[in-house]
Amino acid sequence: MTSIRTLAISLAAATALAAPAAAQDFYEGQTITCVVPYAPGGGTDAFFRVVVPHLARLIPGQPEIIINNMDGSGGLRANNYASDGMPNDGSEILCAPWLAVAQVTGSEGVRFDYSTMRVVGGESSINTAVINENTMVDGDRSTVGQGSQPLVLAGLSPSSTLDLRQRLAYDILGIDYLYVPGYRGSAVQVPAFLSGEVSIIGMNYGTYAATMEAALVDQGPGMLFVEFPGYDADGNPVPTDVLVDLGVPTIQQLYEEMHGAEFPSDTPEARALQLVEGLSSMGLSVWLPEGAPDEALEAMRAGWEALPSDPEFIEAHEQAFGKPVGFLSYDQAVAAQQGVAGADAELVTFLQDFIAAGEQ
C-alpha cells in the first residue's frame, strides 16, 4: 500500500514538475481567489471546498487559494463576472458548473462566452434519475408508467440541462409523464417525493450518493432509474462503470428493452439529446478569464492534472462524495469548450422551441 502511495505521490509531483520553469514560480507567495457561483453548502461549493486545499498544494509555487461565493442569478452573475470583470492576471479563477447550454440557447442575462475564456480542466459528471418504484410493475423498468403511481417529473427549470436531458429522453422512450418545473433543491424535492406528489427526480450521481440515496431510496420508495450517458467521438453512448455495476441501464438500453428496437439516433430529439450531453460533458470546471497569462494557465493545469492521481485528494474525494474521481483530460476539456462554438444552428433552434414548450 505504502509503495502505491509513494508511487502516486511521485507521479503527482512529476506532473507538477513537468510545468515549464516560468510557471513554476508564477504563483509562489500568491493568493488565488476561486469564484464559486453558488452559496456555501451546496454541491458545487462542497466539491470545490474539497478540491481547493489539494489544488493549492499541487499548483507549482503552492499559492494560497480562497473561495469567494459569488452567488446570484442562477450562476450567471459569476460567469458574467469571469467574462467581463475578473482581473486577467491569474489571481482569480472561475470554479463553476459549465453553463454551456445557457450560452448556446441564448438564455436571458448571459453575457459570458466560454469560447474566449481559458479552460483549466473539468470534472465529468454522471447523470441519472431516481424514480418511485410504484410507477412501474414489480420494479421492472420496462413497465414504467404502468404502476399505481402517476409519473410526475420534478424539474428545475425548462432551460436547465438536467430537465432538458430527461424530457428529451423520456419523450424518446414514449413515456407519458407530467413535467413540473420549479423544484429547486432537496428541501423541496425530498418532501414532494416522499409524499407521492412527484415520482421522478433527475440528479448527478454525486448528489445521489451524498444525500439523495439516504432520503429517497433508503427511507422512501425510490430506486435508480436510468443513466444518461455521455457520447464518444463517434457518437456512441459510453456508460459509466459505477452505474453499470449497480445494474442501472442507459436510456438507450432501456429503449431497446421497452420497444424491442434499436434506439433511434437520427430523430431531432435524439440529436438534441446528444448535443445537450456534449454541452454538459464537463460538469464542474475551472476557468481563467480571457487574456490570462500562459504561465498562469500552465501552473493551474499542472495542479489540476495532478489531482486525479494524488492519493490524498482521492481519499478526501471518495470520503466526501462516495464515488471515484472522474476528471476530464485537458484535451477533452478543450474539445468540450470548442463544442460551444460548433453547435448545429438547426438543433439549437429545436432546443429553444423545446425549452419554450416546457414552459407551457
Binding site: 450567471l76 427549470s157 416522499l194
Partner: protein
C-alpha cells in the same frame, strides 16, 4: 440508545472537542452580537477550518458557534432596535421599547434565560421526536408549504402593527421584492429592467440593515440622545435578575414557545424566519388580561427568544436524517458533513447515533454556557444604552456598511441598503410596520414556488380541496379575524378608559418611545401610500406580459395591495384633513409633518451614507468606512479631532483584520486605481 447518549456526551467533553466547543461559543457570542453578521456568516467562516478536524470537534466548533448566535443577537434587537438576525425580529417589538425605558438589562436577562431553556428543551424534544420526522415530512405537500408560509406572513402582517391593512401591504411589498430576478418556474427573469443586480432577489441582510439600522441610528444621530430615553437614575428595578425571574415566572410560555419552535424548525424552508413570530403570536393570543405588547411587555421577549433557540435543534433533524437542509445555515452544515465524509440518513440514528447525540449535547452545552457568559457581561453591555449616541453611531454604521456588503459583495448592496434605509425611515415615521417586509422577503420566493407548483400539479387552486390546506386556511382566517377583533376591543377600551401610557410606571419619560407602526403622520404616510399604489399598479401591468405560469402570483399580490392601499389612502386623507383643520393650512400641516418626521435631517443623514458609498467605490471598503467614521465623530458628533482619528484608525484596522484577513471577504477594488490607470 443510552450508551450512545453517554458516548456522545463523553466525546463532546473529550479534548480537543471541548476546546473547539469553547472557541465556537465565544465566536458565536461575538458574531451574533454584530448586526448583519450572525450565525450563517460564522458557518461560512468556519467551514474551511473543519477539514482537518475530527467530526465531533468539527461539529462542536460549528454547532457551538451557530447555536449561540440566536442568544447574542438579542443584544442588537434590544439595544439598537435592529434585528440581530431574522429570527430575532419579533424580539425588537418589545425588547427595544424596554431598552428605551432603561430596562435593557431586564430584557436581556429574560432573553438569555429563555434562550438557554429554549435551547435545552428544543434538544430534548428533538431527541424524543426523531421517529415523527418522516410522518411530518410526508404529510406536508407543496400546497401546505405555501399555506404555512401565508399563515406566517399574515401573522406578522397583523401582529406587528396597529394598522392591519398597512401590515399586509408591507408584507405584499416584501413578497413582490421576492419576485425580482430569476423566475422560480421557468428561469426567465422578471422586474430586472436589464440591470444585472436585479437578476437576483435583493439580499436579505442589506434590506434588514437598511430598513432598521438607518432609521434607528438617525434617531441617535439627530436627537443628541442615548438609546435609553430615560436617565440612569430614573430606572428602577430594571435589573438582569428581574429578567431571569420574569422568565421563570412565565415558565409555561417558555415551554410552549420552545416546543413550538422545535416543531416549526423541522419544516424545511420555514423555520428560522417565522418561528419567533409564531411564538410571539401565541403569546399575544393566549395572554389574558392587560398587556403592553408592542410597548415593552417582557412576554414579547420571552416567547420569541425561547422559540428561536429551540428551532435550531428542530432544524437539525431533517438535515441529519434526510439530508434536507431546511435553511441556508443547514445547507452549510450539510456541506461540512459531506466534507467530513458523513452521509445524512438512517445511519445517523443507528451506527452514527453517538455523533447525533454529540451534536445534541453540543447544542445543550452551548446554549447554557452562552447564556451564563452573556449574563456575566450583560451588565456592561447594557450600560451602552446610557452612552452618548454619537459614540455608538459610527461603530454600528461600520457593521451596517460591512454587513450589507456581505449580501452579494457589490456596490449594489450598499445602494440597496441606502434605499431601504430611506424607505424604513419613511415607514417608521408614518406608522408603517417594517417586520412584515422582511419576513415576506424571506418566505416570498419559496411561497411563489410552492404556489406555482401546486397550481401546476393540482390545477389552479385545486389544491384547496386538500384537507391539510383547508385546516391551515382556517387558521389563517382565525389569525386575521382574531387580531382584528382584539384590536377593536383594545381601541374600545382605550376610548372608554384613560390611555395607558407606555411605561407609565417610569417617571420623567419625556421622549417618545419607538413603537413599531405606532407613529402617526398622515402627511408623510399619504404620499408614501400613493407611491406604493403606483408601484403595485405598475408591477401588475408589467406582469401582464409574463409567462402565464408566473403571472398569477405577482398580479394577485399587486391587485390585493392596490385595493388595500385605496382604503389606506382614504383613511390617511381623512386624518390629514383633520390635521389641516388643526394647523390652519396645508402648508403649515406639511411643514409640521416634515418637522415631526425629521424628514430633512433624515435626508441629510442619508446623504452622508450616499457619500460614504461613493468613497467606498473610489477607495475601497476599508478606507471609505474609516473616512465616514472619522468625519462623523468630528463633524456630526462635534467631538475633538483626535477622537475622530482614533475612530477612523480603529475602523480601518478592524475591517482589515476581521473582514479582510480573517474572513477573506472579497472587498471593493478601489475604482480610483482604474480611474488613474492603476489597473487591477
Amino acid at each position: 440508545m443510552f450508551e450512545a447518549l453517554i458516548s456522545g456526551l463523553l466525546q463532546v467533553f473529550s479534548w480537543p472537542a471541548i476546546g473547539y466547543l469553547g472557541f465556537g461559543i465565544m465566536l458565536g457570542i461575538w458574531l451574533g452580537a454584530l448586526p448583519g453578521v450572525g450565525g450563517v456568516t460564522g458557518l461560512i467562516l468556519l467551514l474551511p477550518f473543519t477539514y482537518t478536524l475530527d467530526p465531533v470537534s468539527a461539529f462542536a466548533l460549528m454547532l457551538g458557534m451557530f447555536a449561540v448566535t440566536t442568544t447574542s443577537d438579542t443584544i442588537a434587537s434590544v439595544m439598537l432596535g435592529i434585528p440581530g438576525t431574522v429570527a430575532s425580529q419579533a424580539t425588537v417589538l418589545d425588547g427595544y421599547p424596554l431598552a428605551q425605558q432603561g430596562q435593557a438589562q431586564r430584557a436581556l436577562g429574560a432573553a438569555y434565560t429563555c434562550s438557554a431553556i429554549g435551547g435545552v428543551v428544543g434538544a430534548v424534544i428533538l431527541t424524543l421526536s426523531i421517529p415523527l420526522v418522516r410522518p411530518i415530512l410526508s404529510s406536508f405537500s407543496t400546497p401546505e408549504y405555501f399555506m404555512l408560509a401565508l399563515l406566517g406572513i399574515c401573522m406578522v402582517g397583523t401582529l406587528s402593527s396597529a394598522n392591519i391593512a398597512k401590515g399586509l401591504v408591507v408584507a405584499a411589498l416584501g413578497m413582490m421584492m421576492g419576485t425580482i430576478g430569476d423566475g422560480t418556474f421557468n428561469g426567465v427573469p422578471r422586474y430586472w429592467f436589464g440591470v444585472e443586480y436585479l437578476l437576483q432577489v435583493p439580499p436579505l441582510v442589506s434590506v434588514v440593515l437598511g430598513l432598521f439600522a438607518v432609521s434607528e441610528l438617525l434617531d441617535l444621530a439627530t436627537r443628541n440622545t442615548s438609546i435609553s430615553r430615560v436617565s440612569k437614575v430614573d430606572v428602577r428595578d430594571g435589573t438582569m435578575l428581574r429578567g431571569i425571574k420574569d422568565a421563570f415566572r412565565n415558565w409555561w410560555l417558555v415551554l410552549k414557545s420552545s416546543a413550538l419552535g422545535t416543531y416549526i424548525g423541522m419544516l424545511p424552508g420555514l423555520g428560522a424566519s417565522i418561528v419567533d413570530w409564531a411564538a410571539y403570536g401565541m403569546a399575544v393570543q393566549t395572554t389574558k388580561g392587560e398587556n403592553k405588547f408592542g410597548r415593552g411587555d417582557i412576554r414579547g421577549v420571552i416567547a420569541p427568544e425561547s422559540a428561536n433557540n429551540a428551532q435550531r435543534g428542530g432544524a437539525l433533524i431533517p438535515t441529519l436524517t434526510f439530508g434536507i437542509p431546511g435553511d441556508f445555515a443547514m445547507s452549510i452544515l450539510l456541506g461540512a458533513m459531506l466534507i467530513q465524509g458523513i452521509r445524512p440518513g438512517l445511519d445517523m440514528l443507528t451506527t452514527n447515533l453517538d455523533l447525533t447525540y454529540a451534536m445534541i449535547w453540543t447544542l445543550i452545552i452551548a446554549n447554557v454556557v452562552s447564556a451564563l457568559l452573556l449574563m456575566v457581561i450583560g451588565k456592561q453591555v447594557a450600560r451602552a444604552i446610557f452612552v452618548d449616541g454619537h459614540y455608538l453611531v459610527p461603530i454600528v454604521m461600520l457593521f451596517v456598511f460591512m454587513g450589507s456588503w456581505l449580501g452579494s459583495k457589490v456596490i449594489g448592496d450598499l445602494i440597496l441598503m441606502l434605499l431601504m434605509g430611506f424607505v424604513g425611515l419613511l415607514m417608521k415615521r408614518s406608522g408603517w410596520p417594517r417586520p412584515p417586509l422582511v419576513i415576506a422577503l424571506v418566505l416570498g420566493p419559496n411561497m411563489e414556488n410552492a404556489f406555482t407548483l401546486s397550481n401546476r400539479i393540482y390545477g389552479n387552486f385545486g389544491w384547496l380541496e386538500r384537507t391539510p390546506s383547508q385546516i391551515i386556511l382556517v387558521l389563517i382566517v382565525l389569525t386575521v379575524l382574531g387580531t382584528i377583533l382584539a384590536q377593536r376591543r383594545r381601541r374600545r377600551r382605550e376610548a372608554t378608559e384613560p390611555a395607558v401610557e407606555p411605561a407609565a410606571d417610569l417617571p420623567n419619560l419625556n421622549a417618545k418611545l419607538s413603537i413599531e407602526g405606532g407613529e402617526r403622520n398622515p402627511m408623510i404616510s399619504l404620499p408614501f401610500a400613493g407611491v406604493l399604489a403606483l408601484l403595485f399598479a405598475a408591477a401588475a401591468i408589467i406582469a401582464i406580459d409574463f409567462h402565464p405560469a408566473v403571472r398569477l402570483y405577482p398580479m394577485m399580490i399587486s391587485i390585493t395591495a392596490v385595493l388595500l392601499l385605496l382604503g389606506i389612502l382614504w383613511t390617511d386623507y381623512r386624518e390629514a384633513r383633520s390635521e389641516r383643520v388643526e394647523f390652519g393650512s396645508w402648508r403649515m400641516t406639511w411643514a409640521e409633518a416634515l418637522k415631526k418626521s425629521d424628514f430633512i435631517r433624515g435626508l441629510y443623514f442619508c446623504s452622508w451614507i450616499a457619500a460614504t458609498i461613493v468613497l467606498i467605490w473610489l477607495f475601497g471598503n476599508t478606507a471609505g468606512v474609516a473616512m465616514f467614521m472619522g468625519a462623523y465623530i468630528i463633524v456630526w458628533g462635534k467631538k475633538p479631532w483626535w477622537v475622530g482619528v482614533i475612530y477612523a484608525v480603529g475602523g480601518y484596522a478592524f475591517i482589515t483584520g476581521f473582514y479582510d484577513e480573517l474572513m477573506h471577504i472579497a472587498l471593493q477594488r478601489p475604482a480610483i486605481l482604474s480611474l488613474f490607470g492603476g489597473g487591477g
